[in-house]
């Protein structure tokens, strides 16, 4: 069997596994967010918070909950890093500098997991396990909560009520993320991922001398890092590090974990709005883009155009032998089409076009299938844009899922899709125009520009992967990328929740012969087209200067 066929078979196996998990997990999540029963452990947690989980919230109250929880999260994680030097159980590692601590705190709270630090030399057990890994759970749960609030906006009528943020947050953690992560972590340990609390480990070498590495709760963090589409590695090499991702099977399993919740949420959405077919249409849109991108990525990586790869005879720079080109291509595409940003191979050393595909995946807004929760709400915003475009063509007020898309709704959706492109393009322009930021580039020319464009794209879209040649641990990048992550996460959330509130207040419009059938393949086609065209028009000039120029030159 050749590597190309093996790559295709791995893709098919992955699709089969995702298909098997789709209905059970989607059904489970729908039940989690619709049930009015509380588990005993949840009741203890609500008592600890001092919140009544049965109080319904309007969108403004829901948003205040999200923001308060996130602000506290940033401050807590910042303090934990600044105090690392005096925290017990931290291997004697020193405190993190203020700008890097700010960047990292924001990064993990916003589900971005951009890392300007080297995990193995900077972060001790307490910060990793009780700080970073905790945000891996709760930032994912916040994402799902906001998505569920939007879905309730579609499902409910004549009320402004969107549910209770604390209940949605706690249930997401307790009933979905912790059980999945616990099982996944044990599977990863069985493959060889480490899981211990030992200190610095000194191990003899074959050729004499010794090497030192730090132990840690790696498997437990790796599991939620993928399931929560977070992506922050325990070690600098992220999922390329053999202790995080030891075998070909663990690699495929990690890709599965990245994709399973975002895809299954379309089922949850379908059930909650009372039509699983509407969920299938969204799923089909996500799957079409994802499969298309994976195919393109495999093609360009196997073709390996580029001077260094021509000499080497393959695009193996930055890739591990055990994964090979095929599953590295699947991983890279999946991590950038979700908000994950974990890497099992280094995107900066992909072919010019391959690097461009990873960037374009993020520029689409990470909606195919996108981050946990954020993928679904991002895609539903695009669906609203698509029905609006269709409505313009035939000259009638657009509707989606029985709700009128009026002036207020379309304004909110339009504002949503403007936020991240504005952040990416404005900050990239500033970084290129100012004299010093460009000093951080490792590569020059088109690829150097790509490093900076990639960084702002990754931060603003809350992805977290990097063209890691860029030395991002400078005050300029730590601060501006931190700002991009904050604004790129929470400003869109404001629009999503405002939209949810406005939809929930409407009374449903009965479907007529003139209603656009949004559960049909025609709509899926329209939606895919709208996504690609809007993104293409926004980013084409920037992409032409970077990856396209590089890809066409080789």
């Amino acid at each position: 069997m050749g590597p190309v066929l093996a790559g295709v078979l791995q893709l098919l196996a992955l699709i089969a596994a995702l298909a098997l998990a789709y209905a059970p997990l989607g059904n489970h999540m729908a039940k989690v967010y619709s049930s009015d029963r509380h588990w005993r452990v949840e009741k203890w947690i609500y008592k600890g918070i001092g919140a009544d989980p049965d109080t319904e919230m309007r969108w403004t109250a829901y948003l205040r909950g999200v923001l308060a929880f996130s602000v506290v999260g940033v401050l807590f994680l910042y303090a934990l890093q600044r105090l690392q030097g005096v925290l017990p159980g931290s291997l004697g590692f020193s405190a993190i500098d203020p700008d890097q601590a700010f960047n990292t705190a924001v990064s993990f709270v916003t589900n971005t997991n951009w890392q300007s630090y080297y995990g193995e030399q900077a972060m001790g057990h307490v910060v990793q396990t009780a700080g970073l890994a905790v945000q891996n759970f709760v930032s994912a749960a916040v994402g799902i909560a906001v998505a569920v609030a939007l879905v309730r906006g579609f499902a409910r009528s004549r009320t402004g009520e969107l549910g209770n943020f604390w209940a949605d947050l706690v249930r997401g953690v307790v009933r979905i993320l912790v059980p999945l992560a616990a099982v996944a972590a044990v599977v990863l340990v069985a493959c060889g991922a480490i899981q211990n609390f030992s200190g610095i480990h000194e191990v003899g070498q074959f050729t004499g001398g010794s090497q030192q590495w730090n132990g840690g709760a790696v498997a437990s963090q790796e599991a939620i890092k993928e399931i929560g589409t977070n992506g922050g590695g325990y070690f600098n090499a992220n999922s390329a590090h053999p202790f995080e991702n030891p075998t070909p099977f663990s690699n495929l399993f990690e890709i599965f974990l990245i994709l399973v919740i975002p895809f299954a949420l379309t089922r949850t959405f379908g059930l909650m709005v009372g039509s699983v077919k509407q969920g299938y249409a969204i799923l089909a849109t996500m799957a079409t883009i994802w499969v298309g991108f994976v195919a393109l990525m495999m093609w360009t990586e196997f073709a390996h155009h580029g001077p260094a790869f021509d000499i080497a005879g393959g695009a193996y720079e930055g890739k591990e032998v055990r994964f090979g080109v095929g599953s590295s291509a699947i991983f890279a595409t999946s991590t950038t089409l979700t908000s994950t940003g974990a890497v099992d191979s280094f995107h900066s050393s992909f072919t010019g076009l391959g690097g461009g595909i990873t960037m374009l995946g993020m520029m689409l807004g990470e909606i195919a299938p996108g981050g946990t929760g954020s993928g679904l709400y991002g895609m539903l915003i695009m669906a609203i844009i698509a029905v609006f475009i269709a409505g313009l063509m035939v000259g009638r007020t657009p509707e989606y899922l029985g709700k009128k898309i009026g002036t207020r709704e379309i304004k909110l959706a339009a504002c949503y899709i403007l936020v991240t492109p504005a952040l990416v393009l404005i900050f990239t322009a500033f970084a290129m125009a100012l004299p010093t930021p460009a000093n951080s580039m490792t590569n020059s020319g088109a690829h150097g520009f790509s490093e900076i464009l990639y960084a702002y794209t990754s931060a603003s879209n809350n992805n977290g992967s990097a063209f890691a040649g860029l030395n991002a641990d400078t005050q300029w990048f730590n601060s501006t990328l931190g700002l991009c992550m904050l604004l790129g996460r929470f400003v869109p959330m404001v629009f999503v929740l405002a939209l949810a509130g406005s939809l929930a207040e409407q009374k449903p419009v009965p479907a007529t012969a003139g209603t656009l059938r949004t559960e049909k393949p025609l709509f899926t086609g329209l939606l895919v087209g709208a996504i690609l065209i809007i993104t293409g028009l926004t980013y084409f000039p920037a992409l032409a200067l970077g990856p396209l120029a590089e890809g066409l030159a080789s």
């Binding site: 030399q121 993320l177 600098n236 030891p246 032998v321």
Partner: protein, 210 residues
């Protein structure tokens, strides 16, 4: 006192309590429970898959090592590997890739030199390695810099050199490589590979025996 300030304070208090309770669950109970299960069921793996030779720990079967003499099988290049620059009371391996792009002059130079070296090192009196035989993994750095494996092709072109250096028959060394070649998992997952450390440990056993 302003009403909204009081409300904001109350809300932030709730946020803090929520964070602390969830930290207890996901940052203390969860990792400890997983560690307990992992240590009970997979003790060796959970602690880094350490591997012994002559009764001494000589590394982890998952972590590639550099610095083998030409008597042994060579690993992939690791130009992205570093040592720690902070907390320098330790000497930690810093995993990482080169992050050089395909048109980066430095990478082109590294690949070209690595290729020439692989050809030169592995050509013996009666065996000539052709540049076209050298697989891509032999001349490129991995993502982690710690890749424990090489491709069977790269192991294969090293067989003659290793046999000659150790005074072993070529067939015997080739058999050793075959025994240490792992195919794709279930026939299609990942790529075939040879674990360099395990192979070299077995090679040392063999040379000691003969």
């Amino acid at each position: 006192m302003n009403n909204s300030v009081v409300n904001t304070g109350r809300l932030l208090g709730a946020g803090l309590r929520a964070l602390l309770v969830l930290t207890l669950l996901t940052g203390v109970v969860y990792p400890l429970a997983v560690t307990g299960v992992a240590q009970a069921l997979f003790t060796n793996k959970a602690n880094g898959s350490e591997i012994k030779a002559d009764g001494k720990v000589v590394g982890s079967s998952l972590i590639g090592q550099q610095g083998y003499s030409l008597d042994y099988f060579q690993p992939r290049p690791a130009n992205g590997l570093g040592v720690n620059s902070v907390n320098t009371q330790y000497r930690l391996i810093l995993s990482g890739a080169t992050n050089r792009s395909a048109d980066n002059p430095e990478l082109i130079k590294w690949v070209r030199e690595a290729k020439a070296k692989v050809v030169k090192d592995n050509s013996t009196a009666d065996y000539k390695v052709e540049p076209a035989q050298v697989p891509a993994d032999a001349v490129t750095s991995s993502g982690s810099g710690l890749d424990p494996n090489i491709s069977p092709q790269y192991a294969d072109i090293q067989v003659h050199r290793v046999a000659e250096k150790n005074g072993l028959p070529v067939a015997e060394v080739r058999k050793l490589v075959d025994e240490h070649t792992e195919g794709r998992t279930l026939g299609f997952i990942g790529e075939p590979r040879v674990n360099v450390l395990e192979l070299n440990i077995a090679l040392r056993e063999l040379t000691k025996g003969s």
